[in-house]
Symmetry: D2
Subunit: 338 residues, 4 copies
């Protein structure tokens, strides 16, 4: 439910509105964009406050919220959110490019990758330390050692790092080393984990589940924000379809659909969306042309030696080429890149 | 199977290679691109010619064809095909924009549409006269009257017209009026119809079935070319997925995947891909950024009065805005537009 | 719209109701089941007759029809329809078993198959003469010769035959030889073909498209019935999903869902649903346990030599075993089999 | 890799084979079924033992394992596994019927449900205490209080209880109260949780993810077994498809496919597979006819008052009717029921 305050509403009246809602046990979201103050009421049973709020001084109108995800919706937060990570701004004019290997494999590998990512204009480094793998017999990541190496790569290059978290019990450890926590596609509806990353200080990169609807993605984001962390970046990374030629099917329409409904930034992962190197660049271009705020892409100093996702990792040369091509599309979209 | 001729192969030897293959009952595809002459052998049992061909003068190598669609594959036809329709070139540098209403509804409607499509820089007019509808009780199109009106709109504006054909028995009638025949998604595997449009003089716009793999699309195109008509344009128009928020899911990766494997042009239909007006423009942008040779888009002088596809038709103003935005992305891709 | 007649309505009043509806240009469906006479009004704009009908003598109530497929719906035709083909009854207590090879390949093959199908208790013979194939280079069927051989197999065994029709232009030819016409999955929305089989004397076996919703299947059946042919049998044959281990995914829920909404019989095709021999028997069992009125199954005298669908054809021994197992499940469902 | 021992292999030689494999750091799986002893070698790099094993006395043959899930595969464990939970046997001749409400809501509700489930012949009680919900604002379960009530219902009726676990940190708590732990569809690839339930004493009911392949399900089971817990029951509960009329699409073929490849029992959840009451019974029948070892079904004393899954819960009367109908199909399959 949203209460719209009148343009003549006093600060005291506004404070009273907030106090009444909180006093009734609900959460409040306040937005002052464009001279119109909106006060959103979040929680089950909010509709029973209609009469109370309608009668308060300064309240012009009270209306239901359409979206079941009030905190991430634009309904009571119309302005787009920009997530700041060090000097990086995700959701701002400059396209955010996050790149790096699927998994951290060695000091040399991750530092080499970080260097050329930075030199080509990439803004953040990705690399998995805890890897969720379909088979128990596959390489599961270097775990804490991987985190240490990521931190070294950051020290060396200045790039903030994002890495995946797969269990609530790892929060403290990962927060110590990483600048952003990634929730992978397979954990998008691991609700206990969503609550855990909602209760720690780092921003969160939330990937769409490979079987999730767009609404389910927004509800997953709502879990994180409701738990106390408003800094969430959404990521479209391809969904499962019947088409066998690509690993997944990039749902490029998700980018404008999500951005129209949520104030959170949306980026695209062209690597997992297709699973084959030849399609990474066109999918990155498509994502940016559809309005994405950035990309997250897999690159490896020596793709042919990668321990995971070998088929989709860009070589350093491929990555440099991609950055050049992205710049033109970014410019066409009124954005800068690198 | 492909025979690669040596650089010193004489014209007489080349002619002999072709004669031997045809004499054995196979179809021949010849490509001379880049100084390397390839002679493709098409038909079941082609592999039994290996020994014969290997021994012919001028033949350097004989190797299997990987793709089950030899005529539309780049394997023995590496250069991209440009389809000419009057002054229009689909597959050339200039982005081909085909626009118009879902169905032809009246003289005023189609001529009004044709005029603003032309004035905004559109190159071809679309409009359905025979409409395949899910329910027998829905509007099924004006049929012959619709074709006549399309021809009037062409006379008025100079725009070539493309219209859907739904049965082989209509070929002669439609060929009389239209410049290009469209095979709709539901008929992509209506093989008798594919053969029929393969045996008439107009180019064909072949839409991907809503349940078809990309390979099945290329095999459907192969039916048309094998029946004698090499002028086929492929169209990605969204596939069916579990996501309920959009009518279909645009498989934007299909564009570069198809272009890498086939020499035929590939365009994108953003209207059917999403089914909602708000997403048409970002999907058109995404398709062009992924390398599409053009778009086919639904626009109606008064979308709110359209007899079909009302939710996805662009108004004249929306269409003009789209053309402006497309121009920037087209330029970023090294193409012109309008 | 449905008019419910009162129990005291005279035959003259009933005739008048029908006359008024037809006089207004609508189609009438009358059902007298269970002492309650329902008169359905079919056609666009039927709702404008509400006032007229409500005032007629003998009319108790007039209410809207919920389903967009009035002719195949149970709303004004609550009793289940039984389709009679010679001595065969599809939709009756006895489970209808239709079996035979994917394609008619030779006299010996089809007559051998017909004999063991009959001897094991099968009631109808299937076999393709016109084969819709994904590739233009695959075996496309014996065409007319195949029809002649099917007729010979019928003469030899007494089994009625069902065969696929792929184009309206073949109607007269196939009607001459076959007892039932099949619309394959790829043609479920070939609306011109649906109209054509709606205007000929044989019953129709309508397969669900491989990415069609259940409602779309009922609307396709509505096309046939609206064109004049009420004898339609629906067939669930698996839909396309992301699961790569089977050719399709049998949507077994479609059987009870369709039977609850439509009076038409529903059978199941376990062969195409999985594409592998080992799963045909359990899927046939599942279909019958879910309420199917019969099965259509592929069997070949020598599966390893089949020209198409080799992996899913049952051997004569497999087929005999299946019939034995089906009998037990049929009995559990209150049906007989063989 | 599997070593096949000769029929004359001595116990000492057999012990030596096992010792050599374990000494090289691999896990051993031994099966003596049917007079043929198989020794499976599990772990990455097993193939390097080929030469060593081939030369050992008593070894007849060494061959690779085809399946990437050696512990749950029938390759070195051909006999079917029966899971014992108190007096219940899942995977034995008697069909296992697990029933109860979606969520534990109150003492009266769960004890009432347990009583009629037992009286109708159900063997285990289900009920959620920790509920994974799509929205953070939905009822999330009674948590520990729910567990206590489940234990009371067990004490009252003698039915063992199964309940869902959503996070590794809850293992100790749930193990204290429940007889079996359920991994829900959304957590099928929560690998940390799989490892956690692999390292505790209760059997595990593992549900297929709503867009998981069958192979991914077996690999998820492999995680649990590899972590030390061999007592896993697989559950097919419907997958996500494009069909909007049902909540999910039951992949009934999964039952025979899984049972052919894995020695673990497989049960079916008809409630989540369709999401609507009218289809639960036919889907349960279909699952049993396809070879399921049991069912897990939602039933609520007053479905219209249920806090979750209201549309799919069977009333006590519906449940009693289902049990009667299941008995007939179970008998047709050579099983007993209730």
């Amino acid at each position: 439910m949203i209460a719209l305050l009148s343009s003549s509403c006093s600060l005291a009246d506004k404070a009273n509105v907030v106090r009444q809602i909180e006093g009734a046990g609900f959460r409040v979201v306040v937005s002052d964009l464009g001279g119109q103050c909106r006060v959103g009421v979040v929680g089950q049973g909010a509709e029973k406050l209609v009469a109370l709020l309608s009668d308060l001084p300064g309240v012009e109108d009270v209306r239901p919220m359409a979206a079941p995800y009030p905190l991430v919706s634009r309904e009571c937060h119309p302005e787009s959110t920009v997530i700041k990570i060090g000097k990086v701004r995700i959701g701002a004019d400059r396209l955010a490019v996050i790149a790096g290997p699927c998994a951290v494999e060695s000091r040399e590998q991750i530092i080499t990758a970080a260097r050329y990512v930075r030199d080509c204009g990439g803004e953040m480094l990705r690399g998995g330390a805890f890897k969720p793998r379909t088979s128990p017999y596959s390489f599961q990541g270097l775990e804490k050692e991987g985190l240490v190496l990521l931190a070294e790569a950051r020290a060396e290059t200045g790039l903030p790092v994002v890495t995946e978290i797969v269990a609530a019990e790892d929060v403290d450890l990962i927060v110590e080393y990483a600048d952003m926590l990634q929730i992978g596609a397979r954990n998008m509806q691991n609700f206990r984990l969503l609550k855990a990353v909602g209760d720690q200080p780092r921003p969160v990169l939330l990937k769409r589940g490979l079987m999730a609807t767009m609404e389910e993605l927004l509800l997953a984001a709502e879990y994180i924000v409701a738990a106390g962390n408003p800094r969430v970046v959404l990521c479209e990374r391809g969904i499962r379809s019947y088409e066998p030629a690509t690993r997944n099917t990039l749902d490029v329409a998700a980018i404008p659909w999500l951005k129209a409904r949520s104030h959170l930034p949306v980026i695209v992962d062209p690597s997992h969306a297709c699973g084959v190197r030849e399609l990474v660049q066109p999918l990155a271009m498509a994502g940016v042309a559809a309005g994405a705020d950035g990309i997250i892409v897999e690159t490896h100093p020596k793709p042919e030696e990668a321990l995971s996702d070998r088929e989709q990792a860009l070589s350093p040369g491929d990555f440099a080429a991609l950055m050049g091509q992205l710049a033109a599309v970014a410019a066409a979209m009124g954005r800068t890149c690198a």
